[in-house]
Symmetry: C2
């Protein structure tokens, strides 16, 4: 007998364990107060199949999975995301001035703020821009997600792929798609200081 609890052997970069499919389905169905029969009607699947999936007795085919999601009015994405709700709730986190965790890179000196929360949707840090010339970057940084910076002090220049560079002053704010190559350099005598917000979007 097959059960979705069975995990495959760990691979080098194994993602974190997921809620079993059986539980995901049961939860979503019961949240919507649907009986197996109703969901069967909406999805075009048989009651028995649904039952066996919820009991982990059967590994549905992708085709079945698609019908199932459609029947629930969800995209596959939404379906698989639904189980990933962090059990964490009601948390809070305080970082006093200057007490954040420090991270140094060749180009930036970062102080991570309130980074002791596991499921944080936005990373926020105070950054000193050490780089002073674009040539210091062998390649533009580029990743999934979005970023926003707010200038606290100093002057800086933002390079983004596809666009002309932008110069920023204290009080200015700049947001961009992280998929574009990007790099920051200080223009002022002392390194510019910015607040930097980064969201993964995953």
């Amino acid at each position: 007998m097959w059960t979705s609890e069975l995990r495959t052997t760990d691979t080098p970069s194994d993602p974190p364990p997921r809620e079993p499919l059986s539980d995901t389905l049961k939860r979503l169905r019961q949240d919507k107060a649907l009986t197996l029969a109703k969901l069967a009607a909406q999805s075009g699947l048989s009651v028995s199949t649904l039952s066996r999936i919820e009991n982990g007795q059967l590994s549905p085919t992708f085709e079945t999975l698609e019908k199932l999601c459609a029947g629930l009015g969800l995209s596959l994405n939404a379906f698989f995301n639904s189980g990933q709700t962090s059990s964490l709730s009601g948390w809070r986190s305080l970082t006093r001035k200057g007490q954040g965790r420090l991270v140094e890179t060749p180009h930036y000196r970062l102080e991570l703020l309130c980074d002791d929360v596991v499921a944080k949707q936005a990373l926020v840090f105070r950054a000193e821009i050490l780089a002073r010339d674009l040539s210091e970057f062998d390649t533009l940084q580029r990743h999934m997600g979005q970023e926003q910076i707010l200038v606290q002090s100093g002057q800086l220049r933002v390079f983004t792929e596809h666009y002309a560079p932008v110069d920023l002053q204290p009080g200015d704010s700049f947001a961009f798609d992280s998929a574009m190559g990007h790099a920051l350099i200080s223009l002022s005598d002392t390194p510019a200081v910015v607040l930097w917000i980064s969201t993964s979007g995953a």
Copy 2:
């Protein structure tokens, strides 16, 4: 013969069409420069099965899908997200000092920064805390998502459900689960000014 191109009948709230599974797999595999044999080894599946999935000749079981994702080093989420490249990419947004859109509430005066982007994952604004006493709030604010505030000037007190109030000084940073009731009041003579970051988490 089965093909993942076949879509089920539209349901009331049908999600947008997805990239066929066959294409998703082929794309991800080729991005990583893997042959069917290599991926087969990494995932514990047979070469033939992979071939048939990529040709839309077979609807893999959920168990197979899990092995497949593990072999690619992806979560199911990441796998299904991968096809959903946002039509929006390569955008950027600049708000100069004091030029953000203003929003007034009884308790706060907000200046929205870079809010002219539709699919922004984090809302960022500069806020003056007008409220001076908890009694001004008939009920604590409470919603989905996460928030973080960074004190720019003034002193303020943060009330959060389940916890004792916290007093913040310039430079302090405070993050919390928005599901907890929360409210901010100024303690200093002039209204405290904070940077406020809010993520929906949806």
